[in-house]
Symmetry: C2
Subunit: 105 residues, 2 copies
DNA sequence: TAAAATAACTTACATAAAGTAACTAACTGA
DNA sequence: TCAGTTAGTTACTTTATGTAAGTTATTTTA
């Protein structure tokens, strides 16, 4: 058990290797939005989405804001820490455009 | 179910959101190496490592080469497609240095 | 020559994570 | 009052991952 890898890098990797985390942040790059919007846009179940949003909020990556309108509006948005993740997602986007086929079986 | 996201990006995201995939590619960035070396360096179990290496080989990201020496040497290395993934991992590295704490409990 | 070691896996079993679908609570408009 | 919307939660099933031991081939050591 070497574990020669940096614990911070290791933690970042565990973060994005949680299913849906990347797509949630990517979706929030297009601006603050509601729970049901994220759910519909990326096709995640409500159960997992609420778990992930809680995790991301605890990590300081996502901010949850309640607007006491009628009906109540709850908006999720990226913090600076979350916005700083954009280059990662852009690189993944670029890589996927260059190296993955448009058609998959 | 909008599913407005690009299927190629979606596929790339499913790839890196598989546990260990990122760390395996990262580890291979330091050069071709053997199974047991990757296993020790990142702390993944042999079972999952062999699954992941097969997946990565099928995706054309990793190359497996057998050197019929004594004892036989099997080396895993990155293809061009795999090497092209480097910027993603460097960005994650940078992000983790800037935004994650050195100490975690 | 037999026993122990190493590399590269695989198998069996246990636990954790994710998916599915239905349910809740608060409100609103018809 | 009934159906609809938002933001979730709960119960249950399926899939993924972890752990530890076993396998095959070869090689080194006693």
């Amino acid at each position: 058990m070497d574990k020669s890898i940096c614990p911070r890098f290791d933690k970042a990797m565990s973060l994005i290797s949680q299913r849906w985390i990347g797509l949630i942040i990517y979706q929030l790059l297009s601006g603050p939005q509601r729970f049901c919007n994220i759910e519909a846009a990326i096709g995640v179940s409500g159960k997992v989405l609420s778990e992930r949003l809680k995790d991301l909020e605890n990590e300081g990556i996502v901010k949850r804001e309640i607007y006491p309108e009628t009906p109540v509006r709850i908006e999720y948005s990226l913090t600076d820490k979350g916005l700083a993740f954009e280059p990662v997602l852009r690189d993944i986007e670029n890589w996927s455009q260059s190296w993955l086929e448009a058609e998959s079986q």
